[in-house]
């Protein structure tokens, strides 16, 4: 118990130490006007004029186009694996798996319907999957920054240049931090090897360039491991210290981005209040999972003894609240309430604190909805950060919020009645439904964590989960960029006594309430037949 509290406390202290400098660093990265020599070289090669800014629609086209090319490239790479070096005879990846995996890594979901150490060679891993680990995170950051610019800028239709934002996020934020922490992870005992495996006592133990992958897997809130057991595998996550470093990496960008936001809008408290809401919900669900697991019938079932109940609860809560999806324990073996807590984090829409960039823009969209209602209740045309929330803004925000529940419920609904489904499930009844809900929540929210228990290699699951990942990612992104566009076009309304302050506890309560209420109202009927029925047994 106390070891667990100490681990959580250390994590919070570490995040608090880097919060200001790292948050401000990210703000500078996206606000600077000069370019480094390397960046200029890249812009020349891809023929981008870094001085030209884009409208929201052009920016969105860039995001979608870049991602589509990424999916195509990644699909082809997997399909020709057998002709690439370091394939270790693992052969070309099956079309269904290749399709699902390509979408999964490009959408920052990193849902893995395959066993990595038997399926992917080091070439696909390094040239394909790892590249997407970086750029898919950078895409999320770019979209968040475009939205922040929408709030900051006045009377313009320009939101920045997607290619510049993408390059900067990768080169100035993700690469340096990932590199440094790959070394740190090596020190904690994470392995790094280009061999396919080593022979131990007559068995072959799979090997991989783990540390370098592990750092960006967590930092980019990706979650796709090089081993099937993911962060429960001793080569990926050998001990409590590496566990702590990985938790820190997962949270550092989403948490510090609230500082970046506050700095960019010129009022730091605007960012602190978002962090307060994220932190409160993160802590509340952690307490729920932890309490549920600690008081379970078999508390250590499905958990690594290296991490215990606390380390597992901490990791499960963090990975599901950040759209990471890395796991260091089997969520399927959690109690009804504990697994329900992990599921709930995803159903919140991944914003407590959410993924890299996605968490910030998701909670800002929720703030727009909350402020719309609050604005009406104080008798003024609603506004947030000096921007009026009218028809266009509400439509964009509503579309963004609507996407996830739609694909989740449609997908899970069809899956629940398919005749092939019971065969793919590890359980029937309430827990079986929880497994289905968890899989679609994970895909639709671009989390990627698996409840296990569900064998998702059938055509239906490969295809439908792929579609859920793609729509769950790009519909909100397009809506968010449209929102940014209409916000940037406005002038800024001045702050008066009639303006509702968005820095105090009242706003925090309102926003937190909106996050919980929207999730609750949408998913309570489904949850009643899954986790709630389990938990009330």
């Amino acid at each position: 118990m106390w070891a667990g509290v100490a681990q959580a406390a250390l994590l919070v202290v570490a995040l608090a130490v880097v919060y200001r400098p790292f948050g401000d660093h990210m703000a500078r990265v996206y606000q600077r006007t000069e370019h480094s020599a390397v960046e200029r070289a890249i812009y020349q090669v891809v023929r981008v004029d870094p001085g030209t800014e884009q409208k929201w629609s052009t920016y969105a086209l860039g995001v979608v186009g870049f991602s589509a090319v990424g999916v195509g490239f990644l699909y082809l790479l997997q399909r020709v694996q057998s002709w690439l070096p370091f394939d270790f005879g693992r052969g070309n990846v099956e079309p269904g798996t290749a399709f699902n995996t390509a979408i999964s890594f490009v959408t920052n979901t990193n849902w893995q319907s395959y066993v990595p150490e038997n399926t992917m060679g080091h070439s696909v891993q390094l040239v394909g999957l790892t590249v997407q680990n970086f750029v898919s995170a950078a895409v999320g950051l770019a979209v968040a920054m475009a939205l922040v610019r929408g709030f900051v800028r006045v009377k313009t239709d320009r939101l920045g240049n997607f290619w510049v934002d993408l390059t900067r996020g990768t080169l100035r934020i993700l690469l340096p931090v990932a590199f440094a922490f790959a070394l740190v992870l090596l020190v904690t005992g994470v392995t790094m090897s280009f061999k396919s495996g080593v022979a131990v006592d007559g068995q072959t133990v799979a090997q991989a360039p783990t540390a370098s992958q592990e750092a960006i897997k967590e930092l980019g809130t990706n979650g796709g491991g090089v081993f099937n057991a993911n962060s429960a595998h001793p080569f990926e996550n050998p001990n409590a210290w590496s566990n702590l470093v990985e938790l820190f990496l997962i949270l550092v960008i989403p948490v510090s981005l609230t500082r970046t936001f506050g700095t960019m809008v010129g009022e730091r408290r605007q960012g602190y209040v978002l962090l307060g809401v994220m932190g409160t919900l993160w802590t509340a669900v952690l307490a729920l999972i932890w309490a549920a697991e600690a008081s379970g019938v078999r508390p250590l079932e499905g958990k690594e003894l290296r991490f215990g109940v606390a380390g597992s609860a901490l990791f499960a809560n963090t990975t599901t609240a950040t759209s990471t999806g890395a796991v260091n324990s089997a969520h399927d073996s959690f109690s009804g309430l504990g697994g329900g807590g992990a599921l709930l984090n995803m159903l919140f829409g991944e914003m407590t604190p959410g993924g890299v960039g996605t968490g910030l823009y998701s909670i800002l969209v929720m703030a727009v909805i909350a402020m719309f209602l609050a604005g009406l209740m104080v008798g003024r045309t609603p506004e947030y950060l000096g921007k009026k929330l009218g028809r266009r803004e509400v439509t964009a925000a509503a579309l963004s919020i609507l996407a996830m529940p739609t694909v989740l419920l449609v997908g899970a609904g069809i899956a629940a009645v398919l005749p092939s489904t019971p065969g793919a499930l590890g359980n029937d009844g309430a827990h079986g439904l929880s497994e289905i809900l968890y899989a679609y929540a994970s895909a639709s929210n671009n989390n990627g964590s698996a409840f296990a228990g569900l064998t998702a290699t059938g055509d239906w699951f490969q295809a439908s989960l792929g579609v859920c990942m793609a729509l769950g990612r790009f519909v909100p992104i397009i809506a968010v960029l449209a929102l940014a566009g209409s916000l940037a076009a406005q002038r800024r309304a001045p702050v008066t006594a009639g303006t509702l302050p968005t820095t105090g506890p009242l706003f925090a309560g309102l926003l937190g309430g909106a996050v919980v209420l929207v999730a609750a109202l949408t998913f309570v009927p489904a949850l009643a037949l899954g986790p709630i029925a389990e938990a009330m047994l």
Binding site: M377, V378, L402, A520, L521, V524, P525, A528
Partner: protein, 680 residues
């Protein structure tokens, strides 16, 4: 009527416009019943996405009940139709109140015969409906003005009670800012020539009728945005309920269409969906009750957003006339002597300023108000631009009062004159012959209660700017006394326009009142421009509201009505969504306790049976609409205060209240419903 104008009993037999008092009587429900039935037409329903879903759901459940008739199925079907009916009723009641007003207005629009002037000056008689813009018509005492226009010749007193409800006649004359006449009003004396300024069918009364009837009601921007949000919620709940069926099948507890539809109708925001248009109509209606006419609902909404209020000093903040407020004796004269002289000099002075000097003498010094017989023998010396003084010659004395420049002043008197000027007053010197007795302080008197109103406005986040032609010194003094935030001194009409531009550049919304043709550009530019009914046609055309009482402080009430309109929508939306929690607790255990008995633990209201639980939720969901109709029509209570305080209060009342109310309500309904055989 709840306006500031009191209608004397004498006007009762005049065709005075009847304004409903804003209270709601159950009788209105019955009267509106036929209209409510007419609104069942799908063409009408489809305009309201939330209620359209209920309408379709009712059809589905009816089909289900026909196929499987039982007490339960039929009762649920009937109550779903009631839900639609109550929504129709809310709208019909709101519209009905407007219709009553429209009818009495229409009565004033008796098609008057107009006496049109031909080019050669002869008259011809044509129906009022055939008048065109630019036609000149003659109206004499006892005749009704055939259309809106401006007096171009003559002067007349006009009874405008048909439009304004105000029985005291008003004077209308050619030229100047009091030339506009409205069709439907009656000329009481004299003869005027009116140039018609509107096309038939577009007159003031026509527009007013269209407005109060809600015929051309268009959704306002905030209403559209809210409708999008409500539609989004509806889609989310539709998904949640539709997806529930496969999950239920997976869990071995397939649900009937009836139960799923009942759940859906209970979850979607029917309360606000049903009352939304009633709230909008009623908001307009509240404005009309205060004798303010808005050209669009958009303007009413904009009023709630106002950041800056431009108010003319004269007549709005002050009484408009300078009044004597103090006597300052100088050069050894005593106060009683000064007061007596001041009274003498003003006895024959009929101007409001002169009357106020007499008033002060009566109040402070107990002097008689009326001139004695002896005093009447004196010779009155009127004010001229050359002498700049007036007074009386009596018994060889020449008592005068006037501007300081006309007198030889001692150092003491000069100092007092300067002081009064610096403090925003106007000094009037009183002299008996060559001997200066003292100075009367004439002040612009700020209306009582203005400072408190401006403080309220400040709490609402609205900055008031006083606009005046006075010099900056005078303006500053009055601004400080009235408690306005800023002032614009020595203002010309173009300065007003420039100020509005500057405020709008800074992202602020500006409201103003005006009556002159000079004001028209500023009225048109302002986000909310309230024209006075006494003003010119140009001003009325330019503004987006007309105040029939011509009371410039009305703007403050307009702002409050605008805010109240938005608050009512927001509060009822919150209430509607908050209600869903209790409905989940009622319906989910009813649906699934059969397959997962542990879910029976969610039945915290201890509802009797699954059937009674579902029916109770449906009945509550329908009845709450009727219960809230009066609130929707009246608007939620609004007390000017800061945004945070307002939000905290409304969240508490409508958010927390919205969570608690249905638990109690559904439980109570269940106590009755369980008595029905076949359900309990």
């Amino acid at each position: 009527m709840s306006t500031t104008v009191e209608t004397p009993p004498a006007a009762a037999d005049a065709p005075a416009r009847q304004v409903s008092a804003g209270v709601f009587s159950p009788g209105q429900l019955l009267e509106s019943f036929p209209d409510a039935l007419r609104k069942f037409h799908p063409r009408h329903q489809v305009r309201n996405p939330v209620m359209f879903v209920v309408w379709v759901g009712s059809l589905l459940v009816t089909a289900f009940a026909v196929g499987d008739p039982s007490t339960f199925t039929v009762t649920v079907a009937v109550w779903l139709w009631f839900t639609v009916l109550f929504a129709n009723l809310a709208e019909a009641v709101a519209e009905g109140r407007g219709k009553a007003q429209a009818d009495s207005l229409r009565r004033t629009k008796q098609d008057a015969v107009a006496r049109r002037l031909r080019a050669d000056g002869t008259e011809e008689r044509v129906p009022g409906t055939e008048l065109r813009v630019g036609d000149r018509v003659v109206v004499e005492a006892g005749e009704v003005v055939p259309g809106d226009g401006d007096v171009v010749e003559g002067i007349a007193s006009v009874d405008e009670s048909a439009i304004t409800g105000e029985s005291a006649p008003v004077v209308r004359e050619a030229g100047g800012d009091r030339c506009a006449v409205t069709g439907g009003t009656t000329v009481l004396s004299d003869r005027v020539v009116v140039r018609i300024s509107t096309k038939p069918g577009e007159s003031f009364v026509d527009r007013m009728i269209a407005l109060v009837e809600g015929a051309q009601r268009q959704k306002t921007p905030n209403e559209i945005a809210l409708t999008i949000l409500l539609s989004t919620l509806t889609v989310i709940f539709l998904l949640a309920v539709v997806a529930l069926q496969p999950f239920a099948i997976f869990s071995g507890g397939e649900q009937s269409v009836l139960v799923l539809t009942a759940l859906l109708v209970c979850l979607i925001p029917t309360t606000i969906g049903a009352l939304l248009s009633a709230i909008g109509i009623a908001g307009m209606d509240r404005l009309v009750q205060r004798n303010v006419l808005a050209t669009s609902g958009k303007a009413v909404e904009a009023a709630g957003d106002i950041d800056t209020l431009l108010l003319d000093k004269t007549g709005t903040i002050t009484f408009g006339n300078r009044r004597a407020t103090d006597f300052h004796p100088v050069d050894g004269a005593d106060l009683a002597e000064l007061a007596a002289a001041a009274r003498l000099s003003s006895l024959a002075d009929g101007t409001p300023e002169g009357r106020s000097v007499i008033d002060l003498c009566v109040e402070r010094h107990g002097l008689p108000a009326e001139a004695s017989e002896h005093e009447k023998t004196g010779e009155f010396v009127p004010f001229t631009a050359q002498t700049r003084m007036s007074g009386i010659d009596l018994d060889g004395r020449a008592v005068r009062k006037g501007a300081a420049s006309g007198f030889a002043l001692s150092a003491e008197a000069s100092a007092i004159v300067d002081d009064i000027g610096n403090e925003g007053g106007t000094p009037l010197v009183v002299a008996d012959g060559d001997r200066v007795l003292g100075v009367i302080r004439m002040s612009d008197v700020v209306k009582p209660g203005m400072a408190a109103r401006f403080a309220e406005l400040r709490a609402m986040g609205i900055r008031t700017v006083m606009v005046t032609g006075d010099n900056p010194l005078t303006a500053r003094a009055i601004a400080a006394e009235a408690g306005v935030d800023d002032f614009l001194a020595e203002a010309k009409p173009e300065d007003k326009l420039a100020l509005i531009r500057a405020e709008q550049e800074g992202g602020r919304l500006v409201a103003m009142t005006g009556d002159g043709t000079n004001d028209a550009p500023a009225l048109a530019r302002a986000d909310v421009g309230v024209a006075m009914n006494t003003g010119t046609s140009a001003a009325k055309e330019a503004g987006n509201m007309v105040d029939l009482d011509s009371d410039p402080t009305k703007l403050i009430e307009v702002v409050e009505i605008g805010k109240q309109l938005l608050i009512t929508r927001g509060a009822l939306t919150t209430f509607s969504v908050a209600n869903d929690l209790a409905k989940y607790f009622a319906i989910l255990p009813a649906m699934f306790a059969a397959i997962y008995p542990q879910l029976g633990g969610l039945n915290v209201m201890r509802l009797a049976t699954p059937e009674s639980a579902i029916l109770s939720a449906v009945v509550f969901n329908a009845l709450i609409i009727v219960v809230l109709i009066p609130l929707a029509l009246r608007g939620v209570r609004y007390r000017p205060s800061g945004a945070s305080a307002l939000l905290r209060r409304n969240l508490l009342v409508y958010g927390v209240g919205g969570i608690a109310t249905p638990f109690l309500g559904i439980w109570l309904v269940d106590l009755l419903v369980r008595l029905i055989p076949g359900i309990g």
